[in-house]
């Protein structure tokens, strides 16, 4: 019996890391635009004007790749069910050390929420980004609102991403492997995604 089971295939992993790279490029190139406290980050790109160009290019790449990732996972991230409500009630058991058993499929409710949020945020960041890209071509109120919404979505995305990174690495040992070489241990799958474990192994 194999100790490991497949979780994400090569295409999924490459796409995920492509989205990751474009996301952090967007983040770094945006910092100087976000606040004058972070003007120094412009130097990473050779000045503000170049940072803006990089931000636009990375924006297009992120928009496409993140959207493809969202569409790829759409069925498994949007099918909220009763078990997910149970997950939300206990916040996945993350608030205590006590062992609780939740019925979790391939993605738990928190992962579904993250997936849907990033999907919606990608679309809205893209739309508002277009208005901010060509501010003179649109009514002023649309650009003003876009600047606010773009900033708000950026802030909430980065907070979601902090949680995502924590839970995908040190918060849940054994998870990162799924995104690095695609496989997880049986024990990990049984513990975190019992419904999915049953689905793929029949055990």
């Amino acid at each position: 019996m194999n100790d490991y089971i497949d979780r994400f295939n090569t295409r999924e992993r490459v796409l995920h890391w492509f989205v990751t790279i474009t996301f952090f490029t967007l983040l770094l190139s945006a910092l100087g635009l976000y606040s004058r406290l972070f003007t120094g980050y412009f130097n990473l790109f050779g000045g503000g004007q170049k940072a803006i160009i990089i931000h636009k290019v990375a924006g297009v790449l992120f928009f496409i790749s993140s959207l493809v990732l969202f569409i790829h996972n759409r069925r498994r991230t949007t099918d909220f069910n009763k078990d997910d409500m149970e997950w939300f009630r206990y916040l996945g058991g993350y608030l205590s050390r006590k062992e609780i058993h939740l019925k979790v499929g391939k993605f738990n409710a928190g992962q579904k929420l993250f997936g849907v949020f990033i999907g919606v945020a990608t679309i809205l960041l893209g739309i508002t980004g277009i208005f901010i890209w060509w501010p003179l071509a649109f009514p002023r109120w649309i650009v003003q609102l876009s600047l606010l919404v773009h900033g708000l979505l950026f802030v909430s995305s980065i907070m979601f991403v902090v949680v995502h990174v924590y839970l995908g690495t040190i918060g849940n040992p054994g998870t990162l492997e799924a995104m690095l070489w695609g496989k997880v241990s049986r024990a990990w799958a049984k513990k975190h995604h019992p419904k999915w474990y049953k689905e793929v192994t029949g055990e």
């Binding site: 058991g93 501010p135 980065i158 907070m159 902090v162 949680v163 049984k190 513990k191």
Partner: protein, 257 residues
């Protein structure tokens, strides 16, 4: 700032719509002519990257007749300037000790945030893709001279000097003032002959709400939220701790405590 703050007092009752101020501004600031277009006397005449000030001919009805109210438009040099609030490039837009909202095209990074943040829709971008607007003839003022428009005005509609003195004088003459207190005081104060709406001015100008929320609410809360979420994750790690899969029949993940 009040002691050194300079400004305009524009008395609309004295303006005869001659546009001398526009000509003088163009000449002193070496601004190219705009290509003749759909521009006409009246409503849709606009400032451009080559036109820092403009007299608008505002039609108003008085009794049975129609008359013009002349309105000289330019950067207001706000005390609380939306353009400076949003400008991400230090030194691109800045305030001089005279209260002038000045700018340095070489530092402008063409983000155009100032266009969105201005309460009066003043900044323009021309072919060089850099900010352009009235700089209150910064160079002349620094040399103790009057700005070109004020110098050229034949009727005294545009007067330039210490802001507080100009206001005191206008108040003594019982003028209705616009811009004395708004946005921490405008650098261009108007003596109007009617309600601000006649001149196309907002009754109480302010930094656009979305811009205020973006820069004064979302921005600081965002920085707090970012570090807050990192702090929360660290706290979780040292209190609840990570969730490790158990060893199961030797099939579990190997980990050593």
């Amino acid at each position: 700032m009040n002691d050194t703050r300079k400004g305009f007092l524009i008395d609309t009752s004295r303006c005869i719509g001659c546009r001398s101020c526009q000509v003088a501004c163009k000449q002193w600031n070496k601004l190219e002519a705009d290509k003749p277009g759909k521009e006409r006397v009246g409503g849709d005449a606009q400032l451009t990257a080559n036109l820092y000030n403009r007299i608008h001919f505002m039609e108003r009805t008085i009794g049975a007749g129609v008359t013009w109210a002349f309105f000289s438009e330019r950067c207001m040099h706000c005390g609380d300037a939306g353009c400076i609030k949003v400008c991400p490039s230090p030194g691109a837009l800045y305030r001089t000790r005279e209260g002038i909202i000045a700018y340095n095209k070489e530092k402008c990074i063409s983000c155009k945030y100032c266009v969105s943040a201005c309460p009066f829709n003043i900044p323009r971008y021309g072919e060089d893709d850099k900010v352009a607007k009235c700089n209150l003839c910064q160079d002349r003022v620094a040399g103790g001279l009057q700005p070109a428009c004020a110098k050229a005005c034949p009727t005294g509609a545009i007067s330039f000097g210490n802001r507080s003195e100009l206001i005191a004088k206008a108040k003594a003459a019982k003028k209705t003032l616009y811009g004395e207190k708004d946005l921490d005081g405008l650098g261009v104060v108007y003596a109007l002959e009617g309600p601000p709406s006649v001149y196309g001015l907002p009754a109480s100008p302010s930094i656009p709400l979305s811009i205020f929320l973006w820069k004064d609410v979302v921005k600081p809360l965002g920085i707090l939220g970012f570090w807050g979420s990192i702090g929360a994750m660290l706290l979780h790690y040292v209190t609840v701790g990570p969730k490790r899969p158990e060893h199961e029949n030797g099939h579990g993940e190997e980990h050593h405590e």
